[in-house]
């Protein structure tokens, strides 16, 4: 158990994924929700690269991890633009107070 193998990396990625989901559902600030999403994307990346090393796929997993990083960059830019617009419109970024569509 002390010798580091595939399971150790999967444990880290599982813990990061769970912490990311916990952050997304408990924090009110939209920027904190984005940080939770980044944690989840990183945990997926750890899985991809761990399976690229321990699996039999060559370097394909690393390529997919690269694509995930690119998509995360694009997603963060657009999401922050949306958050800035929300702040201009509602003067708050707390996701539980932005409920205009309700009712």
């Amino acid at each position: 158990m002390l010798h580091v193998g595939l399971n150790h990396f999967l444990v880290i990625s599982t813990v990061l994924f769970s912490l990311g989901i916990f952050g997304i559902i408990t924090r009110k600030n939209a920027v904190m929700v984005l940080m939770g999403i980044e944690l989840i994307l990183n945990s997926a990346n750890i899985n991809f690269i761990a399976f690229a090393k321990f699996g039999n796929f060559g370097d394909q997993g690393q390529i997919i991890a690269l694509f995930v990083i690119i998509l995360a960059a694009a997603e963060a830019a657009v999401a922050l633009a949306i958050v800035l617009n929300i702040y201009k419109t509602f003067s708050t970024v707390n996701v539980d107070e932005i409920d205009t569509l309700k009712d």
Binding site: T26, E38, N42, I63, A81
Partner: protein, 162 residues
């Protein structure tokens, strides 16, 4: 325990402890700085997995790009001078129970699965090989991602200055 194992546990501890601080800290700016350590730890884990190029890309893109973007988001959406930068939390206990159950299920599935594990030798450097398959096998995806980044940049600029 070899050096590899010790370094792994070090990076794992950095990653997970700072990730816990990210999701539990009340101050958003502190959370953003703990996120920095999380990204560093994950980058170290990539190095341990033999993905040197991805580790550098992780540092450049996440630490140099996305984290700066997030900190700008914090600064632009809070009145720093008047209000303290705090963020509320809600439904912490139900969320902790639900996420704990979810993590338990994930752990059970993961640890009971008999993963087929190959002992691949780690190449000294992956950059050249990654570059070759990026422009041969994945050329179309590569170009599409370039277009996507351009669209995201234009879209973010137009959304933000409206």
């Amino acid at each position: 325990m070899s050096i590899y194992d010790i370094v792994f546990y070090l990076f794992a501890a950095i990653t997970i402890l700072s990730a816990i601080f990210v999701v539990t800290n009340k101050n958003i700016v502190h959370s953003a700085f703990y996120l920095l350590f999380t990204f560093f730890g994950i980058s170290g884990i990539y190095v341990l997995l033999g993905a040197d190029f991805i580790a550098i890309v992780q540092l450049v893109v996440y630490v140099g790009g996305i984290l700066i973007l997030l900190i700008f988001g914090v600064m632009l959406t809070n009145k720093i001078t008047s209000v303290q930068i705090k963020t509320g939390t809600f439904q912490v206990v139900p969320a902790a129970i639900g996420v704990g159950l979810f993590a338990g299920i994930l752990f059970t599935v993961m640890l009971t699965t008999n993963w087929r594990s190959y002992n691949n030798s780690v190449p000294a450097t992956t950059t050249k090989h990654l570059g070759m398959i990026l422009i041969q096998q994945y050329a179309l995806v590569f170009e599409l991602l370039g277009i996507l980044l351009l669209i995201a940049m234009i879209g973010a600029a137009t959304l933000a200055r409206k």
